[in-house]
C-alpha cells in the first residue's frame, strides 16, 4: 500500500510537470489529472500509514518528488549563463550606509520583533482566554493560542517591514499593540 501511495504521489507530480512543460498558454487535462492523482494519493497514504502520519507522508512524498524533478531540471542547463556585469569581482561602486538609514533599519527591526511580538502574544493570549471562556478544553486553547501567536507574529512582522512610510508603520504597530493589550485585559476581566 505504501508503494502504491508513493507511486501515485510521484505520478501526480510527474503529470503536473508534464502539463506545465507542454502547455502553450493554457494547461491541458493533465493538470487536473495531476492534481487529481495527488488527491487520490492522500487516502491511500492514510490507509498505508495512519490518519495523521498519512497526511504528513502524502505532503512529504509530493514535495520530495517535486524536488527530484527540479534537481533534474537544474542539472540540465538550457544554455550558457550570461555574464553579469553587475556582479563583477571589482570593488567599484561600493554602497555606503548612512547613519540615518541604519537607525531606521534598526527601528524597523524593533517594530518587527518587539512590537509585533508583544501584539502577537497579547492577541494570542486573548484567544486562549476566550477559548477557555467558551468551554474549550485547555490543550485546544493552548494549541489555538500558540498557533495564532506564531502566525500573528509572522503577519505583523511583515506589516512592520512593508515599504510604506515609517511613521505609518509605527502608528499601525502601536495601534495594534494597544488594541491587543486592551483585548487581553478585557478577556482577563471577562473570564
Amino acid at each position: 500500500m505504501t508503494i502504491l501511495a508513493a507511486v501515485l504521489s510521484a505520478a501526480g507530480v510527474g503529470l503536473l510537470f508534464s502539463s506545465w512543460t507542454k502547455r502553450a498558454g493554457r494547461h491541458d487535462g493533465s493538470l487536473w489529472l495531476g492534481w487529481g492523482t495527488l488527491a487520490i494519493s492522500l487516502p491511500v497514504w492514510i490507509v498505508a500509514s495512519g490518519p495523521d502520519r498519512g497526511v504528513a507522508m502524502a505532503a512529504l512524498m509530493a514535495m520530495t518528488a517535486a524536488l527530484v524533478v527540479l534537481a533534474v531540471q537544474y542539472a540540465r542547463p538550457d544554455g550558457p549563463v550570461r555574464r553579469n556585469a553587475s556582479r563583477a569581482d571589482s570593488t567599484a561602486s561600493q554602497a555606503t550606509l548612512s547613519a540615518m538609514k541604519t537607525v531606521r533599519t534598526v527601528y524597523a527591526g524593533v517594530l518587527a520583533t518587539v512590537f509585533a511580538g508583544v501584539a502577537a502574544v497579547a492577541l494570542s493570549a486573548s484567544i486562549y482566554g476566550l477559548m477557555l471562556g467558551a468551554g474549550a478544553p485547555q490543550p485546544d486553547a493552548l494549541l489555538g493560542g500558540l498557533f495564532f501567536f506564531v502566525l500573528g507574529w509572522g503577519v505583523l512582522a511583515v506589516v512592520a517591514t512593508i515599504d510604506i512610510a515609517l511613521r505609518w508603520r509605527s502608528i499601525a504597530m502601536v495601534t495594534i499593540v494597544v488594541l491587543s493589550a486592551g483585548l487581553l485585559l478585557l478577556t482577563r476581566t471577562l473570564t
Binding site: 514535495m63 550570461r82 553579469n84 556582479r87 502574544v121 477557555l132 506564531v150 517591514t161 515599504d163
Partner: protein
C-alpha cells in the same frame, strides 16, 4: 478570464521590500538554523557514530532495565555523597536507536545487555548540534526563545514571499538556467519555495511554537492561571507528582515494564521516568511510540509497585493534545525512519538554498543598481560555505579531545573571523571554492581521525554515517574543483573588472 489573482504592482513592491528586508537581516542565522536542522534530523545516528563501541541491544528484558537503573542510581549516589536524584531517566532501546542509557542530573551511562554500567555517554558533537539548533548555543531559556523568534521571522518570510510573488504558482516549474543570472537565481529561489511550501510553513510554524511556548506560558499563566505558567502545559503533557520527603525503598521498574508489555504489546517504549526515587511519592512514567501515528508518543503512568494508573492522553485526548504531540515529530522528521529523514534532509538543504539564494538575489539587485557590496558578498559566501567547514572542524576538535565547551566558540568566533577575513579575498569564486574544499577536507580528516581513534568498529551506524559523510565530502570537493576551474577561466579574461561568470557563488 484570469485564473490567477491580480495584485497591484505597488503592493507587490511594498511586500517584496518587506520580504527582502527580513531575509537580509535574518539570513545568516536562518541559514545556520536550517543547516544545523538538517544535521539534527540525524542526531541519533550521529550519537551512535560518535561512540561506536557502546553496547547495543535489539531485545531486552524488564529485569535487565531494572538492574541497569539500580546500578546507575548506585553510581550516582557514590558520586554525589549518597544523594538521590530528583528523577532517574532511562532511554530504552528502539529500532532506530538500539542503546539503553540511564540519565540522572548531568550524568549518563550506557547499560550493557547484562544490566551492568558500560561507560559514560559522551556525545559531545551531537549535543553541540542540538544546542546550536535549539538554542543557538546560548543559555537555554533565552536561546530557545530567540530561535522561536527566528522561526516567526521565517514564517513572515514565507507569508511575504508568497504575497510578493502572485505568479509563483503559475510558474511552478519554470526554471531558466540560461540568460540573466539574476533570473536563474530567482527561479531557483521561487521554484524550491513553491514545491517545498508545506515544509517551509510547517518547519518554522512548529519550531516557533516549540520555541515560543515558554513565553506564551508565562503570559497566559500571569493572565489566567494566577501566575502559574506550568498550568499551560500540565493538561497536555501531564502534571508532575507532588514530592514527599518520606523515604521508601527505591522502586523496581521491572513490574511497570512488564505491565506495559502485557497491556500494550503494540507500542514501543522508549523513555522511562522514575520520578522522586527513594521516596513515598515515587512513580514511573513510560513514554512509548505508537505505530502509524504522528505523535511523539504517549505517557503511560504506573505507581511504585508497577500498577497501571492511566495515560496522559496524547494518543486519544483532545484534538489540541494530539496536534501538539504531533508537532515535535513534524518538526524533526522522526516519524518514518530513514526514508523520511532523507526527505527531510533534502528539503532542509533546499531551505538552505532558498535562504542563500534569497540573499544572493538582494546582493545582485543592489549591484544592478550600482550599489554593489563586495565585502558583504564575500562575507555572505563565508557564512554559506564557512558554516559546514566549521561544523566539520568542530568534530575534529571533539575527536582530538578538545573540551565540549570549546565547540561553540570555535564555530561562532571562527565564523566571525572568516567573514572578516573573506573581505580581503578578491575573487568570490576562489573564496567559495576554497571554503567548499576546506569543508570537504575537514570532513574527510574528521572521518578518518574518528575511525582511527575509535578502532573502526564493525557497526552499521559507524560505517553508514562515515559513508554518507565521505559522499558529502566528495560532492563538496567536486563543487570546489568546478569552482576553481571557473575562477581560473575568469582570471584569464583580458579586461580589468572582468565580470564574474559565475551566476551564484554562494
Amino acid at each position: 478570464m484570469a485564473r490567477w489573482p491580480s495584485v497591484s504592482k505597488k503592493f507587490v513592491a511594498q511586500i517584496l521590500s518587506a520580504h527582502a528586508g527580513l531575509g537580509v537581516v535574518a539570513g545568516a542565522v536562518l541559514f545556520i538554523l536550517s543547516l544545523s536542522g538538517v544535521l539534527v534530523v540525524f542526531h541519533e545516528d550521529f550519537a551512535r557514530w560518535e561512540q561506536p563501541g557502546a553496547p547495543e541491544m535489539h531485545e531486552y528484558t524488564p529485569e535487565v532495565a531494572s538492574l541497569g537503573m539500580a546500578n546507575a542510581i548506585a553510581r550516582y549516589q557514590s558520586i554525589h555523597d549518597g544523594t538521590l536524584p530528583d528523577s532517574a531517566y532511562m532511554v530504552l532501546p528502539t529500532r532506530a536507536a538500539p542503546r539503553m542509557t540511564a540519565l540522572m542530573g548531568d550524568d549518563a551511562w550506557f547499560i550493557a545487555p547484562d544490566g551492568a554500567l558500560a561507560g559514560e555517554v559522551d556525545h559531545a558533537y551531537s549535543e553541540f548540534l542540538i544546542e546550536q539548533h535549539y538554542y543557538l548555543n546560548l543559555p537555554h531559556t533565552p536561546g530557545i526563545i530567540l530561535v522561536g523568534i527566528f522561526g516567526a521571522i521565517m514564517l513572515a518570510l514565507v507569508i511575504s514571499g508568497f504575497a510578493a510573488h502572485p505568479r509563483v504558482f503559475r510558474d511552478a516549474f519554470r526554471f531558466r538556467r540560461s540568460g540573466n543570472p539574476q533570473l536563474a537565481e530567482a527561479d531557483l529561489h521561487n521554484r524550491l519555495s513553491v514545491w517545498g511550501s508545506p515544509f517551509h510553513v510547517i518547519i518554522p510554524l512548529t519550531g516557533a511554537m516549540l520555541g515560543l511556548s515558554i513565553l506564551f506560558a508565562v503570559v497566559v499563566g500571569q493572565s489566567f492561571h494566577e501566575g502559574d505558567m506550568r498550568y499551560a502545559f500540565q493538561p497536555t503533557f501531564g502534571a508532575e507528582g507532588v514530592r514527599s520527603d518520606a523515604e521508601a525503598p527505591i522502586a523496581d521498574i521491572a513490574p511497570a515494564l512488564r505491565t506495559m508489555r502485557e497491556r500494550r504489546p503494540d507500542v514501543e517504549p522508549w523513555f522511562l521516568d522514575l520520578e522522586y526515587p527513594g521516596t513515598e511519592s515515587q512513580s514511573v512514567k513510560i513514554l512509548s511510540r505508537l505505530p502509524r501515528r504522528l505523535i511523539f508518543g504517549e505517557y503511560y503512568q504506573f505507581d511504585a509497585a508497577g500498577e497501571y494508573q492511566g495515560q496522559v492522553g496524547l494518543e486519544n485526548g483532545t484534538v489540541g493534545q494530539q496536534i501538539i504531540a504531533g508537532a515535535y515529530q513534524l518538526h524533526f522528521g522522526s516519524f518514518g525512519g530513514l526514508p523520511v529523514k532523507i526527505a527531510y534532509a533534502l528539503l532542509g538543504l533546499a531551505l538552505c538554498m532558498i535562504v542563500a539564494s534569497g540573499v544572493n538575489l538582494w546582493l545582485m539587485k543592489r549591484a544592478a543598481r550600482a550599489k554593489a557590496s563586495p565585502r558583504l558578498e564575500r562575507a555572505w559566501i563565508s557564512v554559506i560555505w564557512g558554516s559546514p567547514a566549521l561544523l566539520a572542524l568542530c568534530f575534529i576538535a571533539v575527536s582530538s579531545g578538545a573540551p565540549s565547551v570549546w565547540l561553540a566558540p570555535i564555530f561562532w568566533v571562527g565564523l566571525a573571523g572568516m567573514a572578516i577575513l573573506s573581505t580581503f579575498i578578491q575573487s568570490r569564486a576562489t573564496l567559495s571554492a576554497g571554503l567548499k574544499l576546506a569543508s570537504a577536507a575537514f570532513i574527510v580528516l574528521g572521518v578518518f581521525w574518528h575511525a582511527i581513534a575509535s578502532g573502526a568498529p564493525a557497526s552499521h551506524a559507524f560505517w553508514g554515517v562515515s559513508a554518507w559523510l565521505l559522499l558529502t565530502a566528495i560532492a563538496l570537493a567536486a563543487a570546489a574543483a568546478f569552482g576553481f576551474a571557473r575562477a581560473g577561466r575568469a582570471s584569464r579574461e583580458p579586461a580589468p573588472g572582468t565580470p564574474d561568470p559565475v551566476s551564484s557563488q554562494a
